[in-house]
Amino acid sequence: MILIFGLFLLSLLVITAVAIVRTKDLFVAVMLTSIFSLLMAANFFILDAADVALTEAAVGAGVTTVIFLCALALTGDREKPREGGRGLALGTVGVLALLIIYATFDKPRLGDPDAPVHQHIAPWYIEKTTEYMDFPNVVTAILSSFRGYDTLGEVFVVFAACIGVLFILGVSPPRKLLRVKDSSNGLRHHLIPQVVGRLLIPFIVLFGLYTQFHGEYGPGGGFQAGAIIATGVILYALLEGEDNALRAIPRGVLLGMVVGGALLFGGVGIVCMLMGGAFLDYSVLAADPVWGQQLGILIIEAGVGMAVCGALLAIFHAFAARERMS
């Protein structure tokens, strides 16, 4: 049964991908991208990746779509048809697809327990999580402790990308342009989005906080929580107007969250070194190594959540401010 459902979802995924590329209307393409992400999240869930499904649903279907729409508002949503030159591209990707499909016959089939990927270090992670951290979610354990270096690097990439967007689009619009257009009331005149939004936003943020603090026990963690809370605040900005959202969480606070989150993560690593351990070795943080691990993971997950939430919101506001200027 689950196999048939998986086949169905994967086929839909292919159809959606082809439709995205074929359509000339970029607005339609972006909406289809959102559906594509939801289907992808469902697929991840079937493949036992609950944490990844949560992230893909919040980021792919939520934040990415809004940022794409902001960019479309600035650039126009029609794609011009082009003449000729398609045959070569189609031929190249066709050959490439056949080559990859031919290569997959050498891969272990889906769910093969003897596949090389399951023989290496993953069983050790699963075995040692209870001993070192004493909480159930192995994904969180690997993410924040066993492979903490990776995660620190990823947080700094998010940080750098956010800084890059702010440099390109400008942190805040120049003063003389500020009062040009004051019509950003969002969807205030529309009753149904207003009512539904008011009902949903508190629960979205609450669910984000739950994912943040329950990440050690169930699917969740800083990355998901940051994205979910950012979606809630973006929904608020779309409904009530961007000004009100900025009044609730000012730009300075957002930038502080991005910088503070990244620094908090790195700072915990340095504190570990000062207390006699290796960089990001949380065991030394408390008298009991297990408690130390749990404390360290709690703090760095908070840092990750802050950095991701702040970065996504700062990027959204940068695009939205640009839109009002033009």
């Binding site: 991208t33 190249t92 990308a161």
Partner: protein, 119 residues
Amino acid sequence: MKLLELLGYFNYWVFAVILTVGLYAVISKTNLIKKLIGLSIFQSAVFLMYITMDKVEGGTAPIIQAGVEDQIFSNPLPQVLILTAIVVGVSTLSLGLAMVVRISECYGTIEENEILDAD
């Protein structure tokens, strides 16, 4: 049984098709936003391949339940890699979109051939 064995590769075939569909958009479309959409489809295909590799037959999500013996877990490592890659993906995508917005402001178009003509 033969059919089921073949279906075990279906995920990888979908990966191949989605990957090349995304690549087609990147190399063949002239609209810069369409290229970025293609790039994110390409990226999603890679995510799908990684997550496909993590599945173990009869396994469950890698969250240990106390008091249950002999559980089989899917591989948590690819999940961790992809989880962070998704969030990094959206931030790099928005960096790309920011550049497209600036290009559109400078050139008045986001069609690649028109930009090349303007230069």
